[in-house]
């Protein structure tokens, strides 16, 4: 181990070699012998009952091996897809979750819903045959607008008013009392636009049943293969866990969308036994747009109560959250427990009350997307804070500073107990980096060129390191959210790290190796990281919610510590010393006060040859596992400042400067952390300026390709100025908070606060497209003329 590869060093990534040479192995790159191809016939209607489904012509089409429908699923007693988090209504009754069959059973509920699957020798044959399926639909009214969902036709019989739940959090009476004594109340209405995740690798699956062993293997684009196996075994009922192997090989980005268990992989693995051949499905981009779980989609009204000095007294929030046509795997918790507990932001707010209505619509299911609930909370908090500062004539930086939480630990009124932070430090550094004091001059210069310049702040907080199992269990989670790790030391002293985390861009093969090599004092090249295969890694909860550092690496550290403890026992025998006299330092086991010493690799060999100890006293081998269950969430925070210049003639917004100052606690690899911040900001800027899923009144997805859904491109973005402040997390052994979602959480309000600053009023929607900003400029000009 050297300083160059230790914890805190910007180690270049080990995994890069295969990706830059075209040797990555993504699911679609894998081909099983004799594999067949699946094509899903999807609903062209947003809402319809299926009166008749005639598959006879398709069945006899060339190359077709099988045409399967919801009836076949039912006949095989294959269960529906599940939502793993139970939310309770205000009155204590459980949420209303409609059934979610992997193939439609009598009804379709969104455009892209799965009607039937055709399996054929080639993909083209499957697609050709699907055109021969005759479906007699009775079209029902689409339910697209959340505000009109209540009176519309029911999408699921169990939810006659299309309400999944009516949930709340916080102290209503205390909040009402705060408003009663307020000197000023700021009100805001915001829409958090619906997004489509768009990992660049489309989802894919190969189901492969081995009739010789009775074992199913599923290759799939998953962020959490073990959770996929658990759900497919315990709930869907494909096969018991020991007869189902799930492999998530290289995965080309997830951003949440590959957490969930979808219809397609369910069908592929089930169908592989039915047709007696491996079954492969790869989404095309249009299918990805239609059927990947979407993100965000909130409508919110909120009010902030201030005293006469501009101190916040209370915060009241009412949100409608679109959950789509079915409840996806974790959908129910996103607008509830991942949202409302973050409404205190970085601010000392004595009273908060939030109400959330979860609503069914005839649109694709909505679930966690990078940030998941926390971007929605941050957008709301940072927009209303900015508006309050403006209404009270206070500098927005000063307004925030005045209301920051300044002592820790801090218990908010909405569940969360922040362990540590220094919000003022991040703000100070960001102001300096952004050259805030000279902004006025830059604004004047822009005006001389006919441009509008604006500056916007976002002081975000997120809850990461998801999550203490007991805590989430009490809130309705169906699983615990610990992580596992296993350290296998080979007799020559090389190490395999088996982790339940999954890397799909995060660089775990490097950072995890960095951590283990550093702890064991060995060369980083001697450490390899194994993940993504349920046959190799016993169990794990996967990667999402910025948890792989704070939870995944904590499990690894625990297992490493056990390896060192065992190593000390082995070394004691080998060195003929007392165990208590063995010290482990810089990769060597030393007998304290002597020059007797063995290298890590030598101890590993001693552990396996086992010549020096009696097996009854000490087991041979050097392999340890650990489960780590966090005791609290972690709370990364920071301040982002966005500066924009707008061309009022066209409405084009140019981001001229981006300053990001983040506190992620301790950092293993700053290069990778910065990369995460860059990517997150790009997604947040995408939400603010470019991206928006749009369904028309008939429930057709208008933005179903890159022709209409605007992905951030290189020329849409600036380079970013990144700063770091550090307050180590106090609740995990590494002091890590997590960094994966920060940018996506921080960015949207920074952009919109900058644009609203530039145009001089608050009426700017997301995405702030040129059209929207042109309208806003005109409104701003009218407002100026009127003044």
């Amino acid at each position: 181990m050297s300083a160059k590869t230790g914890v805190g060093a910007p180690v270049l990534r080990k995994e890069d070699f295969r990706f830059i040479t075209g040797k990555g192995q993504y699911t679609d790159d894998i081909n099983r012998q004799d594999q067949a191809y699946a094509y899903f016939l999807r609903s062209p209607h947003a809402h319809a009952t299926i009166k008749k489904l005639d598959i006879s012509a398709a069945k006899s089409a060339p190359g077709v091996l099988g045409v399967l429908t919801g009836d076949d699923l039912a006949a095989d007693k294959i269960g529906g897809l599940i939502c793993g988090w139970m939310i309770h209504n205000k009155d204590g009754s459980p949420m209303k979750a409609g059934a979610h069959p992997a193939l439609a059973q009598g009804k379709v509920r969104y455009v892209g819903d799965h009607v039937a699957v055709v399996i054929a020798d080639t993909y083209a044959q499957a697609k050709d045959a699907a055109e021969k399926i005759i479906v007699d639909y009775q079209v029902l009214p689409a339910v697209v607008d959340m505000n009109k969902a209540k009176g519309s036709v029911a999408i699921h019989d169990v939810a006659p008013d299309n309400m999944v739940y009516d949930w709340h959090l916080g102290d209503k009476a205390a909040t009402d009392a705060a408003f009663a004594k307020a000197k000023h109340v700021t009100k805001i209405d915001v829409v958090n636009n619906r997004l489509i995740p768009n990992a660049m690798e489309p989802r894919a699956a190969i189901g492969d049943f081995d009739s010789g062993t009775g074992v199913y293997t599923l290759y799939t684009t998953s962020q959490n293969p073990h959770v996929a196996r658990l759900v497919l075994s315990a709930f869907v009922g494909i096969a018991p866990e020991h007869k189902l192997r799930v492999i998530a090989p290289d995965v080309g980005g997830g951003f949440g969308s590959k957490i969930f268990i979808y219809a397609e992989e369910t069908v592929c693995v089930w169908a592989s036994k039915k047709v007696g051949r491996p079954v492969k499905w790869t989404a095309d981009r249009t299918e990805a747009f239609l059927s990947d779980a979407h993100g965000r989609d909130h409508i919110t009204h909120a009010e902030l109560a201030l005293d006469d000095k501009g101190k916040i007294l209370g915060f009241r929030v009412h949100t409608k959250a679109n959950l789509g046509a079915y409840l996806s795997t974790f959908s129910s918790c996103v607008p509830t427990y991942l949202y409302a507990p973050l409404l205190s932001g970085q601010y000392d707010i004595p009273a908060i009350y939030a109400e959330v209505e979860g609503i069914y619509t005839t649109t694709a299911p909505v679930d966690a997307y990078r940030g998941a609930g926390r971007p929605e909370a941050t957008f709301l908090v940072e927009r209303i804070i900015e508006k309050a500062a403006r209404e009270t004539g206070t500098d927005p930086a000063l307004f925030r500073r005045k209301n920051f939480i300044k002592s820790f630990p801090h218990q908010t009124p909405v569940i969360m107990a922040y362990d540590t932070g220094n919000y003022t430090a991040s703000l100070d550094l960001a102001l300096e980096m952004a050259d805030y004091k000279n902004f006025g001059k830059r604004k004047k210069d822009s005006a001389k060129n006919g441009k509008l310049r604006g500056i916007g702040f976002s002081a975000y907080i997120e809850a990461c390191g998801i999550a203490p199992s007991a805590a989430v269990g009490s809130l309705g989670a169906g699983v615990g959210l610990w992580e596992s790790a296993e350290i296998r030391v080979n007799p020559v002293g090389t190490v395999e790290v088996l982790t339940g985390s999954h890397s799909h861009g995060q660089g775990h093969e490097t950072t995890f190796a960095q951590l283990v090599a550093d702890r064991l004092g060995i060369d980083i090249e001697s450490v390899s990281v194994v993940h993504g295969d349920t046959d190799k890694v016993q169990f794990g909860m996967g990667t999402y919610g910025s948890r792989s550092g704070a939870v995944g690496m904590s499990a690894i550290v625990k297992a490493v510590d056990k390896v060192i403890a065992k190593g000390k026992k082995v070394a004691a025998y080998a060195l003929e010393a007392a165990e208590k006299d063995i010290e482990f330092k810089d990769g060597r086991f030393n007998v304290a006060g002597t020059d007797k010493s063995l290298a890590f690799g030598e101890v590993a060999l001693q552990a396996y040859i086992a010549h020096k100890f009696n097996g009854q006293d000490l087991e041979p081998g050097l392999k340890e596992g650990a489960f780590y269950d966090p005791t609290n969430f972690t709370f990364p925070s920071g301040v982002h400042i966005c500066e924009v210049e707008i061309d009022p003639e066209t409405g084009v917004t140019d981001i001229v400067k981006w300053t990001a100052v983040d506190d992620f606690g301790n950092i293993i690899n700053p290069m990778i952390v910065e990369g995460q911040v860059h990517g997150g900001i790009a997604q947040g800027v995408g939400q603010a300026l470019l991206e928006g899923a749009h369904y028309n009144a008939d429930g057709q997805l208008v933005t179903a390709s890159y022709m209409d859904y605007t992905m951030p491109r290189a020329d849409d973005l600036p380079s970013f100025d990144i700063g770091i402040t550090t307050t180590p997390c106090t609740t995990n052994p590494l002091g890590i908070k997590g960094c994966g979602e920060a940018g996506a959480i921080a960015a949207p309000p920074a952009v919109i606060n900058a644009i609203t600053d530039a145009v001089g009023h608050e009426d700017v929607p997301m995405p702030a497209t040129p059209l929207a900003v042109w309208h806003a400029c005109q409104k701003g000009a009218r407002k100026l003329a009127a003044e």
């Binding site: 890069d16 660049m200 995060q506 860059h678 790009a682």
Partner: protein, 155 residues
């Protein structure tokens, strides 16, 4: 079925293909060169970019048969882990990739930019020239740095 012959990464290959076979499918399915990826259906994401007769093209929007007689270079043909192309090395050294899915197309496009625009590339040029390659992970910040460094190193 129709016969097609082309040179791929220096090796001549001949195959009988369905006329609707796209160059991307031909490379992936027939030749098992799976470094060329397919990320969209509308010719925008650029994950499929390869070089045909020295020019970057989108292999998902080109028929294999149209490349009869052509010379095709894919990501597998420009360097190996032991002998990286300068642009490959630059992507690694600048952390210009995360999930890696867009990376082959990104690198092939980047080399094409250098071929057309030379070795001294400013940030603005690089960002504009990458219009046809979408990355969801990196925010492009490090890709831009990588292309600039790779361009200089290709001299």
């Amino acid at each position: 079925m129709a016969s097609v012959t082309m040179t791929v990464n220096g090796k001549q290959v001949t195959a009988n293909v369905d006329p609707r076979t796209l160059l991307a499918q031909f490379l992936r399915d027939n030749l098992h060169l799976t470094g060329t990826h397919v990320g969209c259906d509308t010719s925008q994401c650029g994950a499929c970019v390869v070089h045909v007769d020295g020019r970057a093209i989108k292999s998902c929007t080109t028929l294999a048969l149209s490349c009869d007689g052509a010379s095709v270079t894919t990501i597998e043909g420009i360097g190996t882990p032991d002998n990286l192309h300068p642009m490959q090395a630059a992507f690694r050294e600048n952390h210009g990739l995360q999930c890696g899915f867009c990376t082959p197309g990104m690198i092939m496009s980047a080399i094409d930019i250098v071929n057309r625009k030379g070795h001294a590339l400013d940030e603005h040029t690089i960002r504009e020239e990458l219009e046809g390659n979408i990355c969801r992970c990196t925010g492009y910040h490090n890709i831009v740095k990588a292309v600039a460094q790779g361009a200089a190193a290709m001299k």
